[in-house]
Symmetry: C2
Subunit: 306 residues, 2 copies
Amino acid sequence: MSDQPHVLIVGAGAIGSFYGAILKRAGCRVSVVLRSDYDAVKGHGFRFESVLGELSWMPDHIYRDDDVPQETPDYVLLCVKVLPGVDRAALVRPWLGDETVIVLIENGLDIERELAVAFPTHALISCLAFIAVSRIGPGQIHHQAYGQLVMGNFPTGFDAHCQQLAGRLRDGGIEVNETEAVVGERWRKCVWNAPFNPLSVLADGADTLTILNAPGGEALVRAMMQEVMAVAKADGYPLPAELVDKNIAGTRAMGAYKNSMALDYLHGRPIELDAILGNAVAIAERLAVPVPHLNTVLTALRIRQQ
Amino acid sequence: MSDQPHVLIVGAGAIGSFYGAILKRAGCRVSVVLRSDYDAVKGHGFRFESVLGELSWMPDHIYRDDDVPQETPDYVLLCVKVLPGVDRAALVRPWLGDETVIVLIENGLDIERELAVAFPTHALISCLAFIAVSRIGPGQIHHQAYGQLVMGNFPTGFDAHCQQLAGRLRDGGIEVNETEAVVGERWRKCVWNAPFNPLSVLADGADTLTILNAPGGEALVRAMMQEVMAVAKADGYPLPAELVDKNIAGTRAMGAYKNSMALDYLHGRPIELDAILGNAVAIAERLAVPVPHLNTVLTALRIRQQ
């Protein structure tokens, strides 16, 4: 492991360029692969407005999709949205050396398997990001709040690569929570995401409090959360029973909030329906756990997507 | 019973003025209560384009809400949409004589009780309309297809008033199917309406085939239909098991179709959510029949309505 690891970010949108900024600040060499923002970033790097202070940065290399890498990265960070038709293995493949570690900073459940199957000999790190950050123009990012990561190897463990990467992220000012069971953490986040994200889209972008305060709204959210907990348990990841109460109380305490899927929907961008809900329902079907509430919401959204 | 009954239509929109035209053609005296279209109808009556030929007609009396009736009607036909905040008993009350029969030509389930409670001494006739008709301008109606009614007394029976009214409607060219159990017929229609109408709204106005052909769409429609059948049975109205298969086959045979709730939604008009779905779910809760699919769709729409 090199002392000053070289990190390459594939999909350097808001989230990718944010963690790139953190790693750059921590002394890593950080390069990016870009499409639409290539010219802007080539010209002035990434410009940031951030609650963490000055985060603007210039990547060491700025590549296009079909470029040849000028050095082999120690870590490839994959930060693209998980959407049907996006072949994430193909996006990563050209940039990998034999020892390159693949790092996912992406939303959703059961999103690692595709990469684990495509690259069985590569170490795979899976991260959940708790962050509010958005792209406001070419190469221009607004970081509103948070930034902590939950990190672990897929499917289990927390190896020396995790140690190194977590150390650098902490050097850059980010809280990293280590886990030996990242899949369980994804289930935990799914308990919140599976109801609130899709319901907000079905309700034309409704915020969390509108969902909870509608007649029957909180009861539906709780029923969906209980279904996710039942699938998680059947999948080998039992979660504490009080998680539902805690999620409801925490959501109410946070105030009206539009989640990322609501924002994608309102801006006309594709939504990560499978990563957030469809994969959970597919696992439920495989394990024969009844999830009528989850399935109804999923199907209603699939009808709308036709 | 007078030989040439006087019918007064409260809520003479597309459906009310259509059946008014039919009864007028059959020799009845027919008056209307109007709001927005008062001046237009006063000037030129109702103008029709219809597959049944010339149906344009001039009412015998044209009233506003606060007028005093110039003769007591034998039948009051109530044809308004069933919406929260619309006090249908108050709409009917000023026009009733002691012997006036109240006739509902309205969509939905459990929509009679409000009138039966308000006017316990009046005969009450409940009709389901199978018709495609729409208002295209003030006093201007386009009748695209169909027109048959299912008719019976609420809660049960088929009395002499039904006989007379059905006879006049048939004289005017309309098929009337008599039933002694109109509530069962409303449950039967609910089996189709409860999935297709609300799902079309959740899916932004999707037609029937889009709903059936989406991944998981037909399975969801079937699950919702089965839930309605279970509630109907618990309510004392068992329906034949093959109704679900027949509904699916019939819907596919009919081709892509946008139902009335989808059209209301697409035109920005309020939707009859309680009459079509909410009342069925309320009865399910009272009878402790689990309806998770119906409840999820209902709640998602209620969140959207906030």
